[in-house]
Every structure is written in structure tokens, then in C-alpha cells.
């Protein structure tokens, strides 16, 4: 009898074996308070030493809006979209939360080596906590964004409630991205170096500060392809909800939902299937 058979006979289980998906997700769910506390405490820790504290969560994107607003407002000149301030602030804030989820998800395993090496818990806790952290940060930003739009643009109306399902889709989509990136950077460490370029390319191509429809008005195929670009879809839907005279193809709701659900499902499966390899030193 070899040792494996001997172990099986005595009811021993292989240590570190990846549990089946549903058992794994149950275990993650049992750890939900850990996920929430980890993200909340990390936010508190981030701003502990700066005098303005939590205010930086809002000041940062506002400064960004001021800079991009000035630069692109001048460069784009007469081609800049109407309601430029609202257009830009919605674009920046919505883009920012998704792309930061992607970036911090990518670092959630590789950047927490010591934690992964010292305690055993389902590793999915870490990318989930990083996404929760980004969306907790997003709450005050959302309030500022809505306030600014209300001041400069249209008064609030009942349609603004559509933001809630939109944000739910964004959470699903961002979580999926974070889970996929978390595993990819474990296999390809160099991806972390590429990340700033990836997010910058997305930033400049997703219509954060220009209107895709206007810029690609003469290129039917490109405009058509853009209908399937998820960042563009989320931005357009948010603008459609908040800003007057920003029509959107209703099909975008469908496309965005498909993106969100599929990315999330793929992310969960993709991350879980490599669960056993996250503690590795290579």
C-alpha cells in the first residue's frame, strides 16, 4: 500500500487542495466580514497620515477634472462636446473606478505576498477586498459627481435612480476584471509594469473626454465596433442618465449587462481554477 492509499484509507484529505467551486464560494461568503473590514481598514490607513485625510478621495479626481478640463477644453476647442464640464466629470469618475479596480485587483495577490504566505484563507478574498475598497472610495466621489452635475447641468430627476442598476453592473464588471488580472499577474509578473500603459490606452480610447460619436462620425465601422467597447458603454449610459441631450442606444443596457455578467462569471472561474498556485514563490 502506498502512502496516498494509506492516507485515503484513514480519511485524510490533501492539504491545500482546491475545493469545488460552490464550496469555495461558500467559504468566501463566510469570509465576507473579513473582505469588508480589510477594505474599510485599508482606506482608513491610506489617509491616516495626511492632514486632509479622507477628503483626498474627493480632492484627487476634482484636481484631475480641473487639469483635463482646462487642457482638453482648449485643445478640443469647438469640437468639444456640449455640457463639457458634466461630460468630463462623469467620464472621469466612472472611468476611474473601473480602471482603479482593474489596477488594484492586479496587485491584490502579487502585492500581498506576505499575507498569502502566512495565512490560509480563500485567496479570492484579496481581489474582492480590493474591488470593495475601490467602490467604497467611489461612494463620496459619486456624491460629488452628482452634486456637480446638479449644479452645472440639469436638476435631479427620477431617471437618476437608473444610476443604481448601472453601478451594480459596474461592480460586477470590475470584480470580474480584478479577478482576471489578479491571476494573470501571478503568472506574468511583468504585466504589472505594463498596467499603467494599458489603463492609459483605455483612458484615451474610451471617450472619457471626447464624444466617440462625433470623432468617428465619418468612420461607420469604428463607430459600430465601439458599441461593443464596455468602457464606452458604461460612460455613455451614465451620461445618458445624468446629462440632458445625450442620447444613447438602449441596446447599450443589454451589451453592458452581458459584459458585466460574462466578465464576472469568467473572472470567478478563472481565478478559482488556479487557487492552488497563489502561494508559490515563483
Amino acid at each position: 500500500m502506498n502512502l496516498a492509499e494509506y492516507a485515503a484509507e484513514n480519511n485524510l484529505h490533501r492539504v491545500g487542495a482546491r475545493p469545488p467551486l460552490h464550496a469555495y464560494l461558500n467559504e468566501v461568503w463566510r469570509r465576507r466580514l473579513f473582505i469588508y473590514s480589510l477594505s474599510k481598514f485599508r482606506i482608513q490607513a491610506q489617509h491616516q497620515r495626511s492632514r486632509l485625510g479622507m477628503a483626498w478621495i474627493v480632492i484627487n479626481p476634482l484636481l484631475e477634472t480641473a487639469i483635463y478640463g482646462t487642457i482638453f477644453g482648449i485643445i478640443l476647442g469647438s469640437t468639444r462636446p456640449p455640457n463639457f464640464i458634466e461630460f468630463l466629470i462623469v467620464g472621469l469618475f466612472i472611468y476611474d473606478v473601473i480602471s482603479s479596480s482593474l489596477t488594484s485587483g492586479a496587485k491584490s495577490i502579487t502585492g500581498n505576498g506576505a499575507l498569502v504566505q502566512s495565512l490560509s484563507f480563500p485567496r479570492m478574498v484579496l481581489p474582492l477586498a480590493s474591488t470593495v475598497q475601490e467602490f467604497l472610495n467611489f461612494v463620496p466621489k459619486l456624491i460629488v459627481m452628482v452634486t456637480i452635475v446638479a449644479i452645472f447641468g440639469s436638476p435631479p430627476n427620477i431617471r437618476w435612480l437608473l444610476l443604481l442598476p448601472l453601478i451594480a453592473l459596474m461592480v460586477l464588471f470590475s470584480t470580474g476584471l480584478a479577478l482576471i488580472m489578479a491571476r494573470l499577474t501571478v503568472h506574468f509578473t511583468d504585466l504589472n509594469k505594463l498596467l499603467p500603459f494599458i489603463t492609459r490606452i483605455l483612458f484615451y480610447t474610451s471617450g472619457v473626454f471626447f464624444a466617440i460619436e462625433t470623432v468617428f462620425a465619418g468612420h461607420k465601422t469604428i463607430a459600430r465596433l465601439y458599441e461593443f467597447q464596455p468602457f464606452h458603454e458604461f460612460l455613455s449610459l451614465a451620461r445618458n442618465i445624468l446629462i440632458e441631450n445625450t442620447p444613447v442606444d438602449t441596446m447599450f443596457w443589454l451589451y453592458a449587462s452581458v459584459w458585466a455578467v460574462v466578465t464576472f462569471a469568467v473572472g470567478v472561474w478563472f481565478f478559482w481554477s488556479a487557487e492552488e498556485s497563489y502561494g508559490r514563490n515563483d
Binding site: 492516507a7 480519511n11 485524510l12 492539504v15 482608513q44 491616516q48 497620515r49 502566512s118
Partner: protein
Amino acid sequence: MTERKPVVVVDHLDVDYKILATGRRATGDSKKLIRGTGRGMRTVNALKDISFTAYEGESVGVIGFNGSGKSTLMRAIVGLTPATRGAVYAASRPNMLGVGASLIGELSGEKNVMLGGLALGFTKGEIDDKYDDIVDFAGLRDFIDMPMRAYSSGMIARLKFSIATSRQHEILIVDEALSVGDREFRERSEERIRAIREAAGTIFLVSHSSSSILDTCTRCIWIDKGVLVMDGEPEEVVDAYKLFRRSIK
């Protein structure tokens, strides 16, 4: 002879690390030291074909030099370092005493107790129950609302120890140098480790100190360069290890 119940089975365990080596191989060739690039994937065989079975109620001491693979073996037993070949089987998930990496220096001791407890898998209710005990054992009642970065290194070590040892274990791994802090706390912590050891079913004790292994272990394993050299009575193994250590000096 009564049938002993196995709780941990290590089955032909190999652990390899792939390291992106940016340094140069020590070849003794001084020219190569200057010109050589040496950059590339190197594989380090941290553990080679380790097999043994630990039974219920055993205290297994693990000895060996620095870098011999002791910690890797312990991490493989708790499942933190995946096996390259072979496997580890256990009756329940083995645990390592330790909590340090989950704590955040910017946060108060109070929040860190919460965070460390959650990282160990406690529920909110369990942490609330243990909270006073953890704080009092660490002797940090007066400082618990201050950020941890303001603590002295001894205070941080006490807090970590206190959180980590607040949990009961069936299969427990105790790494050396867990007794921390000043003399008074060291005595209390040693006492607590002893209590935990008695409550736990099976223990692995990693230590450089042969006296603590002789004191507490019923069995001893000696690892050198990733290979299991000897496995047997603590006295025999410790004697052989000492002899070996003297012979290579």
C-alpha cells in the same frame, strides 16, 4: 500493539522554487564575475522526496540549519506552499501560529485585533468574546486605541502573539522564536504555548534549540539541504545532529 491514528501523511513531497536569478553564479572565476550575465530562471529544490507520517498526539520536533527547508516543509504542510510533486494529506487543515502579515500599522490596536481575528477565520462574535483576553494578555490595555506604528517592536510582537494564540488547533505548527518580548512576557508566552500544545492533537515544533525539542517532543525529524536525514527518538536525532554540526565546523 494498538493501531495508531495517522493525522498527517507527507507523501514523496518535492517543492521547487523557480527564481529569476539576477545575480551571478559563484563559479570562483573572477572574470566571469565581472562579465557574466547570469540572468535566467534557476530552479531551487527546496525539498526533495520527503515522506513521513505523523500520528495523533505526537509532538514532532524539526531541526536543521538555516535554509535547510524546515520552514518550506511547514508551509507545505499547512498548504501555503504548493507541492511540486507528491502531496501532503491531513485529517484537518493544519495551522501555523502567526498573524503578523494581516495587520496594518496605521490602524489602532483595537482594529488590528479585529482584522487579525477575521484573518484567522473567527466570526465577529468570537472576536468580541476573546477581545478582552487578547488585549489583557498582550498587556496593551492602555495603548489599544493608538495606531500600531506608535508601538514599540516588543509591543507589536506581543499583540501578534496574543492574537495568533487565541485559537485552538487540532494540528498545529509552532515556529521557533515565538516567545517574544521581555522576560515577564516570555514566561507567560511559553506557558501559553505549552497550554496550546497540550490542547492540540498534534504539533510540529521548528526550533534551533535542541533543549526545547528534547523537553517537549516525542519524535524528531532532521532535515538538511531539503533531504530528510533522520527521523526517530529526539535524543538520538539531536545527538546525531550535534555531531554533524561539530564535524563540519
